[in-house]
Symmetry: C2
Subunit: 425 residues, 2 copies
Amino acid sequence: MNYFPLNAKTIPGYLKQLDNLSSVLIFDSLTIEEVGDGNVNYVYRITSKPNNTSVILKQAVPYLRVAGTEWPLDRNRIEFEARALRLYGSIVPDLVPKLYHVDTSMSVIVMQCLSNHIVLRRGMIAGIEYPRISDHLSTFLAETLFRTSSFCMSSHDKRSLMHNFNMNMDLCKLSEDLIFSFPLMKSDSNYTNPHLKEHIDRLYRDAMFRTNFAWFKYKFMNCTDALLHGDLHTGSIMVNEQETYVIDPEFAFFGPFGFDVGKLLGNFLLASISHYYRSVESKYRSWLMAAGLETVRSFFTKFDTLWAMHLEQETAMFHRGYLRSAERFIFQERFRRSLIQDITGFAGCTIARRILGIAGVADIREVADLTERARLEGIALELARILLNNYASVCTLEDLESLVASFFDGVTSVFRMRTEVSSLY
Amino acid sequence: MNYFPLNAKTIPGYLKQLDNLSSVLIFDSLTIEEVGDGNVNYVYRITSKPNNTSVILKQAVPYLRVAGTEWPLDRNRIEFEARALRLYGSIVPDLVPKLYHVDTSMSVIVMQCLSNHIVLRRGMIAGIEYPRISDHLSTFLAETLFRTSSFCMSSHDKRSLMHNFNMNMDLCKLSEDLIFSFPLMKSDSNYTNPHLKEHIDRLYRDAMFRTNFAWFKYKFMNCTDALLHGDLHTGSIMVNEQETYVIDPEFAFFGPFGFDVGKLLGNFLLASISHYYRSVESKYRSWLMAAGLETVRSFFTKFDTLWAMHLEQETAMFHRGYLRSAERFIFQERFRRSLIQDITGFAGCTIARRILGIAGVADIREVADLTERARLEGIALELARILLNNYASVCTLEDLESLVASFFDGVTSVFRMRTEVSSLY
């Protein structure tokens, strides 16, 4: 079929000719809503009334949706998303939506509708605690990263898998620019808030911060540890109290282990910072910080467990008898240290770019009062600076935890002081 | 054409149907000799008597030549060699043979015959000084590595180029196994010399050496800095006093910057060690050591010059205005330190595997007296141990130079002492 962009009118006709959807949908009475709040593609929820069943249809257009036709973007991104969803479906089937249909020529995928779930970021803005979230996300991270790495795959298999994602060029370039380049330089796409100007100017003079930031850009572009989701923020996760689904892996590519984990941690911490404004009490703010760190901690535990299970198998990295157990211990310790440093650095980059760059997080950007928003943004930038300028001395998980916790303690006590002072008057 | 293995009888008929060779060869009177001394493919020199012109024909067989049909190896390796030769031809045309013909179905390439040149390793065994070798090889290294990296290419172009080499899987796996795995474990393919046993046993107990070795294996497999030659040893280089040609890039793939440089340095140092036996005087031995280090030094100078030339261009890593000059200086210093460490480590791996593994270097393996050979092998293993166990404290080129020089000084003084002692009797 020749490509054409779908809309509410043309979708029923398009769907009818798909055999594999006739068991899911009753085609006679479909309701179609555009539900995409993302920046990249069009997303429709299609509901068939009689059996009250819904599916999600996602179509890529040949440009970046949020920027319009002026910003071309290869439609093949939907293929990479489909490949990643299929692979994730085989690794962590309970944590990704089921895929019903992939149409390369139309750049369309049809998948499970998560109607009893909301976007995690929205839940966090609303102050909802998700008791199982760290457990689910750490499983997703450990399973997907370990199983697509040279600690688990054979050399041939890993290289073949890499080949299937290597040409996701447009979206890799988008990440390089929007995460790692533009936020550090003059760019029309960058965010401005007059109340934040002084803070940004000060940060822009920090040569150590900027050099470390660029160093992580280099790592992002030149490491191929494992298949990354590539865009694992709290807007790419659908939740309810019981379940967690990771969606939107269209940025999937082979990159450094620390990126997905660091990005996710950064998003938890941004959400936590937003609750200096959103919450009266500190309870939910603390829960967010703790849940982010707990996700990292559980990730390491699960990654180590997977590693232990595979030590006797032939993999690209380890053969039977390659290292003795004491040597493997040294190797693993060194790997862990290097990984926790990368997670720290990538978390810093994520937080900074979400404040400085075009793609802010709703948790903070939706704060209408610019002064209040700048206060949150200033805190976030300071956290980013502290993470990036100290990443090299973070050697253990405990180092990361105490760096983050002491930062939040400091911010909280300033806030408490303010409140106490104002209550005197 | 359906694939069949060529031989001296079938080559003339095969060549006659190639239009683009009729300007080079006179087909009526061809002399054909098998000249390959490599382990992987078949190589023929084809000379047409009347005009005294020669070409080289190289054909891949579907197995590893040295091991026989029991060790299958994809014939597509010749395509990767052709791709690399073409690319190198556009970057450093004077340093690689001209390519006349590529035949994918027959896994054949036909190229310039370097009849006035010998294999560098042979020249080094014979004790010949090549006054321009460091200049030529450092140019090859700097140009090919810089120009295929994200410091020079755009993000899209680099990713596309990577895609053209990513599936060179069989040869990548061969390197992983033969360089980085088997030498560190029990393997039938490993070398044995009874006089070396104690030395090897001692080295095998060195947990730091073994862990660092494995760490470099990990880097080799998971970095994609630039297009590597992948097998840049002194047997892959043809020379005379004036000219230098790099041949045999069939292992080409995207890997870490330090690998080609470190591998080449390791081969110079192995040659140098062999002259504790081959030379009466220390002059040539010192020249070899100095030429290896000079190649690394010039590589850095030329790499930096290329970098300086490209700082104002848009590349994957740097945009105009991305970093200020002081910040770029910090970044480059850090990059250099990391690279010199990698070169040190990879040189150590190369030296160790050439002693412990199946593919020894003729410089040492051809020493017939097993006791004398073991003496050289012991020196080489000790150098490998020193490079790998100290790589992390090598921060500058000077650190590397003094580490290597002081090692050779130590070995030389032991030798002098022996000579003096024996001259007393």
